[in-house]
């Protein structure tokens, strides 16, 4: 299904708006007085409806129209913000999202959807049928004019129709002349005032003589009905933007018009004049008055007009709002560009190649030993490094958007479970690669649900323990040595060590004789087919998920870790690499081969003393005393079975990852190296301890070590125990 580009944008924007609407609703639930949020919700619904009109998406228009009407009442204070309203509108939001999905798939809603549609509309209509709290919105009728009564609070004073026309670019080409419509209008009534909109006209150089750029704002006096007036424009209806407002229209309609109207930045006065709300003379008078007042107290024109009682305050507010929005959207438009993700990937690939080529040039310059040449290449590599960083930064997004989605999850799940659970979010400005963000959302959802279901106890259990009746779930993110750490923590009961162990033995995952550390036991929950919930609940407890969570995280070269304190809560930390493609590496050599480790994990480099080496050979001891701390190490020479004798002086590269340290014994330290990680082919997929390879400037291949994996291989715990025994 090939979608029109603008429709695609509509879909994206609508989803964004629904997201904002949901966030606003959740805030509103806590703080029902927040008028700004009510307005935000209204605007979201209004925009979705308005834009749906452009694409003729009738099923969206008809539904959102009802929702918007209720929201309008909420906004006017005629319907109070209650829990039911918030819940209803969360459902409404979900449903609109479903409708948008239909648009995205290019399908129309099926019968089931329509049942939901009708159900929601019925529930919304309850609020519309409610008696009106204020005497608003007098019926639109031109008879009132005859009696000379000035219209209600809500209706504007003009007694003319207001017609807003924007002719489409193909008007001339399809043989129409905009003036013929104006002439025809004069046969059915009288054009009282017309303002020609020239803002859309491009400069002479850019203008296309056969495209129509014209628009008119017309104040029109006529006894004709709306249908008759509409029929004037039948021939150009498809191509044009036409709005017709009856005489004494309610202020809201003018607000709508101003909302929809041209996007050019216009002066407030002009907007009002063009809408026929003010005549130019009225505006001039107001301007004069403003000038008079200015000497005493400078008032904005909007205020002046209200004081002179020439316009309704709401009309001025709408005009001001429009001005502000035009400015804001101009600002944000110029700040953001939507880019095809493929183009970005291509750029990053090229940067990768550039880095490799640059490394080659540096190497040759080194060999030549030419000072000037060396300086030039070092300048270039500094720049290449910066280019690389900014290219990668393009892909970085803040995790906040992902986090805030959990407000809804937590709200819904806590309602479902009958627990009062609050979500605290921190570190939302932490950035990580977009591809990682997309893939982390599902595992995170599972962890959050799991914590709420199994971790946090019910209020009856909590209160006797001296905990607050409401549970707290925290989402946190931060950067730590080249990776991002995402924590999901709860203040629940913590993991039950004995229960997990019993279950694992029961399931045959471990044998009863095995002695396991707490950590090992906690990790059992990631085994396939493990579930400890006594009752299988709707949310979790089916024994699928935690193993999938772990697999998903591992697929991103990440790890997951559990810290649990019985009775106080549990924290799951997910640790992920920041990027998947390019890293700052540290190049080391063993025999004739080169290896790369991530520079972020390197803490220091020390020399392996002769006596430590001797004891490693004689006692197979593989740790050293690093300033009073046990440092286990791996000899890469042994690990990769390199041939030949080790040199007299060997070095240890001290690496740190997830609060663990390990030393790697290497022959020589070569230095920093920008590394483009290339994945290994299928054949080598299962080689442990190697994360990929890279190409050096010389053209030879270096393997990229997967340090977390090597730590597992080294079986650190047992080495430490060995060290304890010895001391």
């Amino acid at each position: 299904m090939q979608l029109d580009e603008s429709l695609q944008i509509y879909i994206i924007e609508s989803r964004d708006l629904l997201q904002q609407m949901e966030e606003a609703l959740l805030t509103l639930e806590q703080n029902p007085e927040d008028e700004e949020k009510i307005n935000a919700i209204f605007r979201a619904a209004h925009t979705i409806k308005g834009s749906a009109g452009l694409f003729g998406l009738d099923f969206i228009i008809s539904f959102t129209h009802v929702a918007e009407s209720v929201l309008d009442k909420v906004r006017n204070g005629q319907v109070p913000v209650t829990e039911e309203i918030v819940a209803l509108f969360l459902e409404v939001g979900d449903f609109i999202c479903k409708l948008i999905d239909h648009v995205a798939e290019g399908t129309t809603p099926d019968a089931d959807t329509m049942v939901v549609n009708d159900g929601l509309i019925n529930r919304l209509n309850v609020y519309l049928g409610a008696p009106r709290a204020t005497a608003a919105a007098l019926p639109v009728a031109s008879q009132n004019e005859a009696s000379g009564v000035v219209e209600s609070l809500d209706g504007v004073e003009t007694s003319c129709w207001h017609i807003s026309l924007r002719f489409g670019p193909d008007t001339f080409r399809s043989g129409m002349d905009p003036f013929s419509f104006l002439r025809y209008m004069n046969t059915m009534g009288k054009i009282v005032h017309v303002a020609t909109i020239t803002q859309a006209l491009p400069s002479l150089e850019e203008m296309d003589a056969e495209s129509c750029y014209l628009g008119f704002e017309i104040s029109y006096e006529s006894q004709a009905s709306k249908v008759e007036i509409e029929s004037i424009f039948d021939f150009v209806r498809d191509d044009c933007d036409i709005h017709i407002l009856p005489p004494h229209s309610q202020v809201q309609h003018y607000i709508d018009l101003i909302d929809r109207l041209s996007n050019e930045e216009m002066k407030l006065g002009e907007i009002l004049v063009k809408c026929g709300t003010l005549t130019p003379t009225e505006l001039e008078a107001a301007l004069v008055q403003q000038a008079d007042v200015a000497t005493v107290d400078k008032q904005p024109i909007g205020q002046t007009l209200i004081n002179a009682q020439l316009v309704q305050p709401a009309v001025v507010n709408a005009a001001l709002e429009k001005q502000r929005q035009v400015k804001e959207s101009k600002n944000s438009e110029s700040n953001y560009i939507r880019i095809d993700a493929n183009k970005l990937d291509e750029l990053i690939n090229l940067v990768g190649e550039l880095i490799i080529a640059g490394a080659g040039a540096t190497l040759i310059a080194d060999k030549l030993g030419d000072g000037a040449m060396n300086e030039a290449t070092s300048n270039i590599s500094t720049l290449v490094e910066q280019v690389r960083d900014s290219a990668l930064a393009l892909r970085m997004v803040q995790i906040g958007a992902t986090f805030s989605r959990f407000n809804r999850v937590v709200r819904d799940v806590s309602k479902e479970l009958g627990k009062d659970i609050r979500l605290e979010i921190s570190g939302e400005e932490t950035e990580l690669d977009k591809t990682v963000v997309e893939k982390i959302s599902d595992p995170l959802t599972h962890l959050v649900r799991n914590s709420m279901d199994h971790g946090i106890e019910s209020a009856e259990v909590r209160v006797p323990k001296g905990k607050p009746a409401y549970g707290t779930l925290k989402l946190n993110a931060f950067h730590d040595s080249g990776s991002i750490v995402i924590e999901v923590s709860d203040d629940g009961a913590g993991l039950n060590r004995d229960k997990i162990l019993a279950k694992a033995i029961d399931k045959g995952l471990v044998s009863a004789e095995q002695s396991l550390s707490d950590k090992e036991i906690y990790n059992l929950i990631f085994e396939a087919g493990f579930s400890t919930a006594d009752a299988v609940s709707n949310l979790s407890g089916r024994g699928v998920g935690m193993d999938v969570v772990k697999r998903n995280i591992q697929a991103l070269r990440g790890t997951i870790d559990i810290q649990s304190t019985p009775g106080l809560g549990c924290t799951m930390s997910i640790r992920l690499p920041l990027t998947l493609a390019i890293i700052d590496g540290f190049l080391v050599g063993v025999a004739d081969s080169s290896y790369v480790v991530p520079l972020d994990m390197v803490v220091e480099c020390i020399e392996l003393s002769a006596e430590d080496y001797a004891s490693s050979v004689s006692d197979k001891r593989n740790f050293i005393n690093l300033r009073g701390e046990v440092l286990p190490y791996l000899k890469l020479r042994d690990e990769f079975e390199c041939k030949g004798e080790p040199p007299i002086r060997q070095n240890i590269v001290v690496m740190q990852y997830a609060n663990q340290k390990i030393g790697l014994v290497v022959d020589k330290l070569i230095g920093e190296f920008q590394t483009v990680i290339k994945p290994l082919g299928k054949v080598f997929e299962h080689v442990k301890g190697i994360g990929g390879f890279t190409i050096l400037g010389s053209g030879s291949v270096a393997l990229v070590l997967d340090v977390p994996r090597m730590m597992q291989l080294a079986n650190m715990e047992s080495i430490k125990e060995q060290a304890l025994v010895e001391s």
Binding site: F179, E205, M207
Partner: protein
């Protein structure tokens, strides 16, 4: 030739004749783009125009906007009935300065 453009030291005169409408709008505009001055006062003579439509008026509007954005003086001379009808219909008399002689001076 729907438009003749004569430029001397003092001003640039655009003399339109015959039809000023969609049928020759493209030709007219390309001529104007090529020859019209960015610096001199612009005089538009419409005496010989006998038919005009919105596409034609749109070109006049673009010329007028051009003079406004470049701060040039603009004068519309001898608008005949065909053009005046449109200018009145669209309430653009003030915009074109046809009721009085316009004297925009560059700031």
């Amino acid at each position: 030739m729907p438009v003749m453009i004569n430029t001397n030291e003092a001003r640039c005169v655009l003399t339109f004749s015959g039809e000023l409408n969609i049928y020759n709008a493209a030709e007219t505009l390309s001529q104007i783009k090529a020859e019209m001055s960015n610096t001199l006062p612009i005089h538009v003579d419409l005496a010989a125009v006998d038919e005009a439509d919105a596409a034609g008026l749109q070109i006049l509007m673009a010329i007028r906007l051009h003079t406004l954005s470049h701060g040039l003086a603009f004068q519309l001379e001898n608008p005949n009935e065909a053009v005046m009808a449109l200018i009145e219909l669209s309430d653009m008399a003030g915009f074109f300065g046809v009721t009085q002689v316009f004297t925009d001076i560059a700031a």
